[in-house]
């Protein structure tokens, strides 16, 4: 069981992914844009952050950079989620400070595997 912060502006995606993760036993907190995501991440203690990249207010890349710049969130693993496997998105995400990267639509087993890997690394 992990405490997960899901930053996602699309309501359906947010609802769907959070429900599926919860059914797998995870504790999921929701943020609807980049600004809220950064604020919540710094206020709470999360094991991992799932960050959509195309967000309003502050986009995922900028939000990631902010989190990497803040001491309290510097070490929290971040997985970038993008709409499409556009070559370049992955590089851009890793450059911004993400630890891994996955594409939508989410294949749950694959995402869960990535989450497990990151949590195991930090454990």
């Amino acid at each position: 069981m992990a405490r997960i912060l899901l930053v996602e502006d699309n309501e359906m995606n947010r609802d769907m992914l959070s429900r599926r993760l919860q059914r797998k036993g995870h504790d999921v907190t929701l943020a609807v844009d980049g600004r809220e995501g950064v604020a919540m991440a710094r206020a709470g203690a999360y094991d991992i952050i799932l960050m959509d990249m195309s967000l309003p207010e502050i986009d995922g890349w900028a939000a990631t950079r902010l989190l990497r710049g803040a001491p309290e969130t510097q070490q929290v693993p971040i997985i970038a989620l993008t709409a499409h496997a556009m070559a370049g998105d992955r590089e851009k995400a890793l450059e911004a400070g993400c630890d891994d990267y996955d594409t939508k639509p989410i294949e749950l087993p694959r995402l869960l595997a990535k989450i497990d890997t990151l949590l195991a690394r930090d454990a």
Binding site: N10, M12, N13, M16, L17, R19, R20, R23, A83, H84, A85, A87, G88, R90, E91, K104, P105, I106, L108
Partner: protein, 701 residues
């Protein structure tokens, strides 16, 4: 002056050699003479010897029309009028002229007929004879009476004889020369033949000369007309009627017969001959000789000559003479026809150029306009009169395009050049043109160049419009794909989630339907992703992210991903690769996608077969091969294979699924990385795709 001469006379030993010497001088002079006038000068100057008493010498020639004797050359009479004329019967030399014998007058003062020259002394007149005919007289006068004796007569007669022979020879030569000139003139005329009208004139001249030379009554010449297979008479000379325009079939009449047999023919009694043509029924001729006119063995016409005199019959000698004229006539016909054909061709091309929608201009080697066609006038606004003589590049270029245009022009003098450029009209407006410049060669000699201008303003505009439309289309597809994907993600995600939930809630009968929604959503997503990729490639927005990666793990990953596909139709996957294939610099995502596309393709068209993925290094290249033992393809199917939405047959999409875009994307990705993809296949036996990629892909694609 005369006194010493007389004093020497008794010394015969001196006089005889002097006479011989005079004769020798004369002979030498004559031998060197090229024409009659020179011969006469040699006669008088050669004989002239004061010591012998040959004080005055003159040569007179008979003018046949007036019967006057005309002085040709003289010596010793300083005041002798040039071309002095002596009328018939006048003067002492009239006698010799008349009877053709030498006459001696010991004392001219006693003779009433004497026409004063030296007005004293004695005179010898020696006739000049050529071919038995007296053509003139040599007059020799001494200032003293009784100056001449037998020795003188002998010498002077010998001199006159020699002169006669020389004159005969000179006249023959002149005649030969005149004939040669005439012949050359005729040939020149034929070479210059520039129309059918001139042809009939030349042929008329040929037949007239033939008639004169052969001494026949008349004759005619006909041209063979290939289109109709008939002879047409074009020249007719004294055959009793003007036969010009008469047409004869092959085998008809004398000329028709020789035109058919291609052999000459002599008809001794024409009125008894069975081959007569009715067209000549009104012509009274006794005998006929005809010959075909040939160029090699090709018939171009026929020639015929006729005798109306029953006493005259043609023989082989006549035939030989006729054969002298036949080639002249044949060549004249051939030349005229070649000229006419060339003329027609020139007119034909002239029409082509005049009516061509392409602007055409010809330049001399100094790049000045020689002529231009109406399309050129329309395109650039200059009339031909305005353009002729101007430097073309100064006329129709702008400062910006001058240099480029001049380069074209220079190069076009040597070889054909082609390009696209912008030119200026007379009114200053600009026009986009496609330019073709070609050298103009005549008989291997460069005489100038030709420029062809095709107005491509519309074409360029259409292309720009098409490019803009295409780019808009790609843009639209890219954004539409993106917009479509968001709701699709929800469909896929919720259907997947529902499958998990219904399983947990114990309602397995719903799983199958949910799986169908999920599969359809996945397929739609794959389609949209592929379209997005393609439209990005087409719009030039697909970028390469080159990184260094280990090939082995990449292959393992691809194989793992492909396993379920391979298993689906009970296929086997063999991987042939070196233990450590090393690394490559390339776009990892695209290499993976290329291999997965090929494997997915192979799996789709193979059942219970083997799919082989192999890898090898070939110098600076990595070669991936995916072979299957599936249904394969025909050559026609392979042609369209890499086009978008071109599954070999529309029906295959229905049967085998797939977006039809996989191979199109594979090819574009491969090309983007500087590689290429090839396919080999035998229908029914499977196919092999080979992808060659540079091991070190250049990041700037």
């Amino acid at each position: 002056m005369t006194e010493p001469a007389r004093a020497e006379r008794p010394a015969l030993g001196g006089a005889v050699p002097r006479r011989q010497a005079a004769l020798l001088r004369l002979s030498t002079g004559i031998a060197a003479a090229h024409d009659e006038a020179a011969i006469y000068r040699s006669v008088v100057t050669g004989l002239h010897d004061e010591a012998l008493g040959y004080n005055f010498l003159g040569v007179f020639l008979l003018d046949e029309t007036t019967e006057d004797r005309v002085l040709q050359a003289s010596v010793g009479w300083p005041d002798a009028p040039a071309a002095m004329r002596v009328h018939r019967g006048e003067g002492l030399s009239a006698q010799a002229m008349q009877d053709g014998r030498l006459h001696y007058t010991p004392d001219v003062r006693r003779e009433s007929r004497y026409l004063a020259s030296l007005a004293s002394g004695s005179e010898v007149d020696v006739p000049l004879r050529v071919d038995g005919k007296t053509i003139g007289v040599l007059v020799v006068e001494s200032a003293e009476p009784n100056a001449f004796g037998e020795e003188d007569f002998e010498i002077l007669q010998a001199a006159a004889h020699q002169a006669g022979i020389a004159v005969a020879r000179a006249r023959l030569l002149a005649e030969e020369r005149r004939r040669a000139d005439e012949h050359k003139a005729l040939l020149d005329t034929m070479a210059d033949l520039s129309s059918e009208l001139e042809l009939s004139r030349v042929l008329q001249a040929v037949i007239e000369r033939a008639v004169a030379l052969l001494g026949v009554t008349g004759g005619e010449v006909a041209i063979y007309e290939e289109e109709t297979g008939e002879l047409v008479v074009v020249a007719s000379e004294r055959i009793g009627k003007d036969s010009t325009g008469t047409r004869l079939r092959l085998g008809e009449g004398a000329m028709g017969t020789v035109a058919q047999t291609l052999e000459p023919l002599i008809i001794p009694s024409y009125h008894e001959w069975l081959g007569q043509s009715a067209k000549y029924a009104d012509v009274v001729v006794h005998s006929v000789m005809a010959a075909p006119l040939l160029i090699g063995r090709r018939l171009v016409g026929a020639i015929a000559t006729v005798h109306s005199d029953p006493a005259r019959v043609f023989d082989q000698e006549d035939l030989r003479l006729l054969n002298l004229f036949a080639p002249q006539a044949a060549i004249a016909i051939e030349n005229a026809q070649l000229y006419t054909a060339a003329q027609r061709q020139r007119q034909y091309f002239g029409e082509l150029v005049r009516n061509s929608p392409v602007a055409i201009v010809t330049l001399n080697p100094q790049y000045r306009v020689v002529e231009c066609n109406p399309a050129f006038e329309r395109l650039f606004g200059y009339t031909q009169a305005e353009a002729v003589g101007r430097n073309l590049d100064e006329l129709i270029t702008t400062d910006a395009t001058r240099e480029e245009a001049e380069r074209y022009t220079r190069e076009a003098l040597g070889r054909a050049v082609q390009g696209i450029g912008r030119r200026r009209r007379k009114d200053g407006s600009l026009v986009d043109v496609e330019v073709l410049g070609v050298p103009v060669m005549v008989d291997g000699e460069r005489v100038g160049l030709m420029g062809l201008y095709h107005d491509i303003t519309e074409l360029l505009r259409a292309r720009r419009d098409a490019e803009a439309a295409n780019s808009a289309k790609s843009q639209f597809l890219a954004s539409m794909s993106h917009e479509l994907r968001t709701p699709l993600n929800a469909i896929i995600g919720y259907s997947e989630m529902l499958q998990e939930e219904v399983a947990e809630l114990g309602q397995p009968q719903l799983i199958e339907d949910l799986a169908k929604i999920h599969t359809a959503g996945r397929h739609l997503l794959a389609l949209i992703n592929d379209i997005l990729d393609l439209s990005k490639i087409e719009a030039g927005k697909m970028q390469l992210y080159v990184e260094t990666f280990a090939i082995g793990p990449m292959l393992d990953d691809v194989v793992t991903t492909a396993r379920p596909l391979v298993a689906k139709r009970a296929n086997r996957l063999d991987v042939e690769r070196p233990a450590d294939p090393g690394t490559m610099d390339a776009d990892l995502t695209k290499v993976r996608q290329i291999l997965l596309n090929l494997l997915s393709n192979a799996c789709k068209f193979t059942e219970h077969g083997t799919i082989t993925l192999s890898l090898e290094r070939d110098g600076a290249h990595i070669v991936f091969t995916v072979c299957d033992t599936g249904i394969g393809m025909t050559a026609e199917q392979m042609d369209r294979l890499f086009e978008a939405f071109a599954q070999a047959e529309a029906s295959t999409t229905a049967k085998y699924g797939g977006t039809g875009l996989g191979l199109a994307i594979t090819k574009r990705f491969t090309n983007l990385m500087g590689g290429d993809v090839q396919v080999e296949s035998t229908p029914g036996q499977g196919c092999c795709f080979t992808v060659r990629l540079p091991a070190r892909v250049s990041p700037v694609a």
